[in-house]
């Protein structure tokens, strides 16, 4: 592992992302609209519930969770599946396959730069606004460090899921449907659109062990110090789950890719 070449890819990714500032601004604006919608939706839900606390969460808890989930989503969202299907169709993938790095590594580090930019431009500002508006509802201690660690693991789990779906698309040669299914499943089961606390108990118990949760729910739970994550006993199972899925999915994805890449017949030329 030579860090210099990886960081060179990160650097290029940062520079490339910064070229598209208008795109970032539009994303921020679209989020604002989405968040207004979320606000009124949940306000109505709480109003009809008739109590201040639903499933152990107050309205403010839910809003903080969902706003931060959206911010996290903006920064973790990847387009590996889209990009890969496009580069297979155009045949450009051959140029990426012929880089002197493992394709998976090359892809991951190529995306890393845009995550850095989006983290700075979407997550940090949202986080600061939430912090100011809620007057300290977010604890400011070691949890920030654990959150950073959890986010990196979340990124790896998310990337692995993307790569597996992208590999499936090598066979199907169509991407749209599969990608939509994947996105919906991830958004629902990861806690990005509805806090997992609102899930029915039976479903919750299954979801708790699935990899999707490792992407959004775990980093947020740790950031907000819920479920005893301010103690080692609470923290370890979270990291354990993330780490386990990161390893399993990376391994499975690598094997699947290595097996499948031989089947690609790059078009044209």
């Amino acid at each position: 592992m030579n860090l210099k070449r990886h960081l060179a890819l990160t650097r290029a990714g940062i520079m490339e992302s910064l070229q598209y500032r208008l795109g970032t601004a539009v994303t921020l604006f679209a989020n604002l609209i989405y968040l207004v919608l979320v606000y009124f939706l949940w306000k109505a839900i709480y109003a009809s519930a008739g109590t201040d606390v639903v499933n152990g969460m107050t309205f403010t808890d839910t809003m903080i969770y969902l706003i931060l989930a959206t911010a996290l989503f903006n920064f973790l969202e990847m387009f590996v599946v889209w990009d890969m299907s496009r580069s297979i169709q155009s045949g450009k993938i051959i140029l990426d396959l012929l880089k002197p790095m493992r394709f998976r590594e090359y892809t991951f580090w190529s995306y890393s730069g845009s995550h850095v930019v989006l983290f700075a431009l979407t997550f940090i500002p949202t986080f600061i606004v939430v912090l100011i508006v809620t007057h300290g509802a977010i604890p400011m201690g070691l949890n920030l460090l654990w959150f950073a660690v959890a986010t990196v693991l979340a990124l790896i789990v998310n990337f692995s899921m993307e790569m597996i779906v992208a590999t499936i698309c090598l066979y199907t040669e169509s991407t749209w449907g599969i990608n939509i299914v994947k996105e919906t499943i991830v958004l629902l089961l990861s806690g990005a659109s509805i806090p997992l606390a609102f899930f029915p108990e039976a479903l919750r118990q299954v979801v708790d062990y699935l990899p999707f949760r490792a992407v959004y729910d775990i980093p947020l739970t740790i950031l907000l110090e819920k479920n005893d994550t301010n103690t080692i006993e609470g923290l370890l199972p979270m990291f354990g789950l993330q780490l386990a899925w990161a390893l399993i999915l990376t391994l499975a994805g690598t094997l699947f890719w290595n097996h499948s890449v031989k089947k690609i017949t790059v078009n044209g030329g």
């Binding site: 060179a8 140029l95 002197p100």
Partner: protein, 311 residues
């Protein structure tokens, strides 16, 4: 001469689903196990020496790209052996990639929104080129082409010619032993074509880089290649010097004579059977000849004849 590439009896088959037409056919295809096998490359053996520039020719769909993809390690041959710089490419694609460079005419490996120099820096780091060698390479580039105007230009703002030029420079940047150029001059104007040919020739001479050039432009072949390999329907049908190619169908030349009434008479002469001088003398006896021209058969004409299946 040491060999850069050795291919022995290489075959490549593809399994393709037999598609049926119409809506009914499409639904049937969902469950179909009806595959047919297509042989894209059939028993090709080839040795390419270090520092050679090889013209790798063939009509569309002949199996050129498939061969190149096997040489680069993207495709695994169905049978046969390939060694590139002593490495089996499909087994060690990453290692093989360190010593090859590729340019695929219509696609760019450059970072679209960044200035060219950033792509160069990035490639330098990815290929781990020592700083000194990188600087030397840029110096060499400067001596061969005027790169200053494009060096700080974002790739997306470049003309096709500039972009192709940049892609070729990018492919040579890590001083690879072999560079694959797949239709590098496609879509370029005459002046840019000649610039690119000079550049390829210059880099080949300076760095002793082996160049595998596929093209449909016989101007490229005439300007660059001593040796050409022609493949058709997956089989190698010609592998020899370019000079030898002209005698592939016999030594034909076209003799044109301007007669006393200012009309041109044209005769194709097979020099193994007739002597040009004899033909002229014969004619002179009948009529006064004001002017004569003797034309070599062009590479393009020979290649066209070969593609069309001989005589």
């Amino acid at each position: 001469m040491e060999n850069a590439i050795v291919m022995k009896n290489v075959c490549k088959d593809f399994k393709i689903l037999n598609r049926h037409e119409g809506l009914k056919g499409s639904i049937r295809d969902l469950f179909s196990r009806d595959y047919k096998t297509i042989s894209a490359v059939k028993d090709v053996s080839l040795e390419i020496g270090k520092g050679e520039i090889i013209g790798y020719l063939g009509p569309n769909g002949a199996g050129k790209s498939t061969t190149i993809k096997m040489m680069t390690g993207v495709l695994e041959p169905t049978s046969g052996d390939i060694l590139v710089n002593g490495v089996v490419p499909y087994k060690e694609r990453t290692k093989n990639s360190e010593h090859i460079g590729v340019v695929f005419g219509q696609r760019s490996q450059l970072w679209w929104s960044l200035p060219l120099i950033e792509s160069f820096r990035l490639l330098r780091d990815i290929y781990m080129v020592p700083k000194k060698e990188y600087e030397e390479m840029l110096e060499l580039y400067r001596s061969l082409v005027d790169i200053e105007p494009i060096l700080h230009k974002p790739v997306r703002q470049m003309s096709l010619g500039q972009r192709t030029l940049s892609d070729i420079l990018a492919a040579f940047l890590h001083n690879p032993a072999i560079v694959f150029l797949d239709e590098p001059t496609i879509g370029l104007d005459v002046s840019m074509k000649s610039k690119i040919r000079d550049l390829i020739k210059g880099l080949n001479q300076e760095k002793n880089t082996t160049v595998i050039l596929t093209t449909h432009d016989m101007g490229d072949v005439d300007a660059l290649c001593k040796r050409i390999v022609i493949i058709d329907e997956g089989k190698k049908i010609y592998d020899n010097d370019i000079d030898h190619l002209k005698t592939y169908f016999g030594s034909y030349r076209t003799l044109r004579m301007r007669l006393s009434d200012d009309t041109w008479e044209e005769r194709v002469i097979d020099e193994t059977k007739e002597d040009v001088m004899q033909v002229i003398l014969q004619k002179q006896k009948e009529q006064k000849i004001k002017d004569i021209q003797l034309q070599e058969i062009s590479t393009e004409e020979v290649i066209k004849k070969i593609y069309e299946g001989g005589n």
